[in-house]
Assembly symmetry: C2
């Protein structure tokens, strides 16, 4: 970073503003996926995400587990839009270009892609300049127009719900072993919510993003946040890599949602409420919001 | 590499074979782009390609020039299919995460994307574990069904043509300054050829790939290959990074092609002929084919 570090959010917004969008781009940079309207019944979803050695996994992690994390975190982005994943492209920068490692990685990728019905349609491999890996995956997906979920769609009075537990993802191994909430998202999308996102950078940061995109504040009830084994309340709020869903539910659908929730292995929790106020402001925190949240620019 | 290095081609083929393709995948891994049939009038094209410091450019290259190379080499892949680029996603692993560098990179990307009418719809930035960059771009495009060009479409008797000059790309700076042959490809596609690819890994290797994909041999006339300033015949055949088009033209269209070629700054050259024979075999070489061609596994 430079001597005077900018906030990641504002810098990323500044970069995104450099890029005008064509008429077929329904949603550009800034949500979990971009959304394209190509005139088909479904909308096209596209996102890219990467995993990097020493940053997103420790050296020695099995190539198949790395492949799984790379694909699943992209599937989680598709889920958060209410969609289903369809195709993927791989971009691998590795050193050394060890065939055993690469074969194990691709076998792992093929196995997990098959689980989700994803076709891996292309890729590129090149040698990195230093020992380690920088691995990127672009995912394509589709979503029915009436199921599309956006961060910006929360309404004042909507309840904030989340799937699963939070915190201690890295040390517990959750960041490798998680199951993206695709089934849950498909159940919710268009039926109980049209405002959803996944939690990768930390519950607090991602919930605040959703509130800000919707022009609302958020009354959070941190005591309700379910903690993963070994997690503190603060780690649950800030550490990230949870790959759970956050979504806004109109008050009048609350009872029906809780009655019809049929995912016994996936906790469903009410965490707060979107309210009028400074966009992105979060009330109810046990500490100063400005000090929290995973920042990729650290 | 392992002690017993496999040939890149066969290893990549082995990896690609791990991935079954869904019914909407018209062309999977192995051509310049994947081709998807989403039921729209045009087919969807998708490809990913990367540039890495010390590998694809020397340190100190301007961020805007790096951005240009990254986008243009992907545009070249779209051109080789006969299509036009539409959207792009960026995946950047950089160290340090210097805002000045990133801003200059994104400004350069925005300028060149605007030239080609490409919307940059999303991206991811993360910190790399060691100083340098691994930069990846996924490009989407479209092509009319009757203009789609595939490596596998050359027919026995077709003439091999190429745009531009070959060799000495890296030292001359061509690898940064080139103009992808989009206009030329659009003129050719469906009219004069349905078999095309771009030259990134070396004229000989890429021409052999085209012959192999088409189940044909190639009679090359190396003396006809136009040399970039400073290039030897061998470097023109093997160095790569030319980003020119190779394409197959039926004999009976030869005269019309040469008459109607209206790109005064882009040389058009006949280089040989596709013939029955061992698929991928090249005749007419001044040296042993097995020793040549850029191999990413070096």
């Amino acid at each position: 970073m430079t001597a005077n570090p900018m906030n990641e959010e504002s810098f990323v917004r500044k970069l995104a503003a450099l890029f005008p969008q064509s008429a077929d781009v329904t949603v550009g940079p800034g949500d979990d996926c971009a959304v394209l309207d190509l005139g088909t019944p479904d909308l096209l979803l596209a996102a890219v995400d990467q995993v990097i050695s020493d940053v997103h996994y420790t050296r020695g992690t099995s190539p198949a587990a790395i492949a799984g994390k790379l694909l699943k975190r992209n599937v989680s982005d598709i889920a958060a839009m209410g969609g289903v994943p369809t195709h993927a492209l791989l971009s691998l920068a590795v050193n050394p270009m060890d065939e055993g490692w690469l074969l194990e990685f691709h076998r792992g990728m093929a196995a997990i892609a098959a689980q989700y019905g994803i076709s891996v349609i292309g890729g590129d491999m090149a040698k990195l300049f230093a020992p380690g890996e920088a691995l990127s995956l672009t995912i394509l997906g589709k979503v029915e127009r009436n199921k599309l979920c956006l961060r910006a769609n929360a309404k004042a009075g909507d309840l904030l719900y989340a799937t699963g537990e939070f915190g201690n993802s890295f040390r517990s191994g959750h960041h490798l072993q998680f199951t993206p909430r695709l089934k849950e998202a498909r159940f919710l999308a268009g039926e109980f919510t049209c405002a959803m996102q996944d939690v990768s950078d930390g519950l607090l940061k991602d919930a605040a993003r959703m509130a800000e995109a919707s022009g609302l504040a958020l009354e959070l009830e941190p005591d309700r946040i379910p903690l993963r084994a070994g997690a503190s309340r603060e780690s649950a709020l800030t550490e990230g890599e949870d790959y759970e869903l956050l979504f806004a539910v109109p008050e009048n659908l609350r009872a029906e949602l809780e009655r019809r929730w049929d995912f016994p292995d996936t906790p469903l929790n009410f965490l707060g409420r979107f309210v009028p106020g400074t966009p992105g402001a979060v009330c109810g925190l046990p500490f100063d919001q400005s000090k929290t949240g995973y920042d990729h620019f650290r």
